[in-house]
Amino acid sequence: MVDFQERITQETEPSIRVEHDVRYGAVAPLVATSAAWVDLGCGTGLAARAAIERGRPPKATFVDVDEAATGEAARAFGDDATAIVADLSAPDGLAAVRAAIDDGAVVTCFETLEHLPVFVALLELLVELAERHDVTVVMSVPNDAFSGVQNPHHTTVWGEGAVEELRGLLPDGYVLAHQLALAGSVLAVDEEPHSHTIEVTAGAAGAAQTHFVAAFGPRAGELAGSAAVAQVDQRRQRAWERQRSADLAFYRVLQAERDELHTALEDHIRQFTDYRTYVHELEARLGLPLSGAGGDAAATVAAPGSAAADAVA
């Protein structure tokens, strides 16, 4: 069963966590060389730590609607971080965000738009900041249309079509990147965890995207490709797959039994219908009420030559 998480935590599945790490890793060069960084929809900030691996900007602001999460994100960054609690679909929230974004800042907004009942106001603000205030924005939306997953935390749905609509609203010079899934393997020579450096060749042509990432503003071209892998719990994956196989085999047998019973039932119904027809013929000849016909007098058919027929005559 899919567990929909609103926030990334230490308990988040590695396969989900690594998707966030890749996005923040892609903006790390931008963030490291910016005068100010604002992370909208920051959550607990756990994934955002990947963004500062290459260097910390002098000023960082974390924005989320959840006060506890925002505070945690700012604390993890350090004393020079600011926490803003704001609803990004409300005018006052947007005003607070606008006040917090300096000219030339880098703004990240990952996996946030789809949670907002009204996303267009934030989008228009970001576009205006990019066009008029030298702000570089990097944002992402999920590919709900491909996954078919119904996330109760998503108030809007996104996919290729929605991204095509989004493109028409972005400033000239935007960059559209596609986030893809990887599969991998590692050889462990002992029980201890070891760090490995991996080189990955991947391309978006013909591939299904898990997410779409758009960058716009003066430094959009600096968005770097990024990849990360994480060890996954194969046991759990195997259990899930084997359960599906077992279910399938089980229900196939049930289906076959059902078909057999259905055929047998149809045969029985035919036989009983024949029996009943025969019995009714006999009853009609004998002038008896038709069995199974409600037992009323009207159902009685007088057979020719019978006492009942003579009485009627």
């Binding site: 929605a162 609509e165 028409g168």
Partner: protein
């Protein structure tokens, strides 16, 4: 922001439903002052759109008294009224390439074609193929994509879909039989040729030209709610249109758990995937279409797979509030940006007019020749003795003399035809 949607009428149509839904969203959720402007007086009563209560309707004469920030045409014929309004931006909402609705010799075809050459500030369209085509035809004018939404309250998707293991395949066909490119009658004929058990429901706003004997149930016109119920009762929507912008009925069917058998009409690629959530049939392939329907009737596992995937496709389709957000942002962006040069489409406009004139010249010449030939035939018929011979031929007593007359008449016809 003051926005005017110029409309031809308020009759029942899918296109009109889209315009009304957008207007309502813009007015109610985005604070825009939206009005409908009727491009012409109409005599028929309005279709009972619920949203009409929330959007004012102005006559063209009244609308001329106002100034709008954006005026939007919604059909090629409304462009003539569009530029009669005072607006800072003129936008064309293109739901299809409307010249394709007309046959080559119909003069309206030219009118619809040149409507795209007018000095618009922007196009807004609902399908990527239209956007890409307009980008080629009018690279000077920005074209924005805003997909149609779906009323998720009316077309409320079930949480789970129960497999349909038996019973006749329930086929739904909808549309106007009198609109040639909807191919409604062809769809009914294809369903009628199925070998597997089936039940066909046809929903048609009017019965003109409809072969009702090919359906098990004939309904219509129906409300959206009633339509949603009909989709929910159906296994498959059969849609054999040859011209569409981005059709809605199969998508509405998806929302209610029905899959689709469709032609690969333009716009289907927005949400139809052959073998995943629907089956795509060939053009003019009645037998192949019937066999695809038979496949669904016979293979209930496949039917359930397609229906399940159709439902998932529907769940990932935007609602009208989401679509309205994109429309609002698009209109604001169009208003903020400078309008392109008004002469950008002039060369193309003149070329299309010239092409239309030449085409009509050819058709007029063909009609003149046909009239001349018909005139010769009429004169022959008027010749003393010929009309009487034809009348005699029609009576049974004249069959013997007809054997003498027929060869003569046949030679006369050949001479006329030569």
């Amino acid at each position: 922001m003051r926005v005017a949607f110029v409309i031809n009428d308020l009759q029942l149509s899918g296109g009109m439903g889209v315009v009304i839904a957008h207007a309502r969203e813009l007015r109610l959720r985005h604070g825009m002052d939206v009005s409908f402007v009727l491009a012409r007086d109409q005599e028929e009563p309005n279709w009972r759109y619920d949203a009409l209560a929330e959007v004012p309707v102005l006559s063209l004469r009244d609308a001329r008294e106002h100034a709008f920030d954006i005026a939007i045409s919604t059909w090629w014929e409304t462009t003539y009224a569009l530029f009669a309004l005072r607006a800072e931006r003129y936008v064309s909402f293109v739901q299809s390439l409307e010249d394709r609705f007309y046959r080559p010799d119909e003069i309206e075809r030219m009118g619809a074609a040149i409507a795209l050459d007018l000095p618009f500030s922007a196009f807004v369209t609902e399908a990527r193929w239209i956007r890409d085509t307009l980008a080629e035809l009018r690279p000077d004018v920005p074209c924005h994509l805003v997909r149609n939404g779906i009323d998720k309250v009316v077309f409320s998707a079930p949480v789970e879909l129960a497999p349909r293991m038996d019973g006749p395949l329930r086929v739904l066909v909808e549309g106007y039989a009198g609109v040639w490119f909807k191919n409604l009658n062809e769809a009914l004929a294809a369903a009628a040729e199925m070998r597997e058990r089936h039940h066909v429901t046809v929903v048609a706003p009017d019965r003109m030209g409809l072969p009702t004997h090919l359906a098990d149930r004939v309904l219509g016109p129906v409300s959206h709610l009633e339509m949603a119920s009909l989709y929910a009762e159906s296994d498959v929507v059969l849609k054999l249109s040859s011209v569409e912008g981005m059709y809605g009925p199969p998508l509405e069917g998806f929302h209610m758990g029905a899959t689709c058998v469709t032609t690969e009409v333009t716009g289907h690629e927005e949400y139809v995937e052959h073998g995943v959530n629907a089956l795509v049939c060939d053009w003019d392939d009645r037998r192949g279409t019937s066999r695809q329907l038979d496949l669904l009737a016979a293979d209930r596992r496949l039917l359930h797979e397609l229906r399940s995937n159709a439902l998932m496709t529907a769940q990932a389709w935007p609602s009208w509030p989401q679509a309205g957000q994109f429309m609002a942002a698009t209109l604001r962006r169009i208003h903020q940006r400078p309008a392109p040069a008004a002469t950008g489409g002039t060369a193309r406009l003149l070329a299309d007019v010239r092409l239309g004139i030449e085409e009509q010249r050819v058709y007029r010449a063909e009609r003149r020749e046909a009239r001349w030939k018909a005139g010769r035939y009429d004169r022959l018929l008027a010749t003393p003795g010929v009309s009487q011979a034809l009348a005699l031929r029609r009576r049974w007593s004249g069959r013997l003399p007809a054997r003498i007359v027929d060869p003569v008449l046949g030679r006369v016809k050949r001479l006329l035809g030569g």
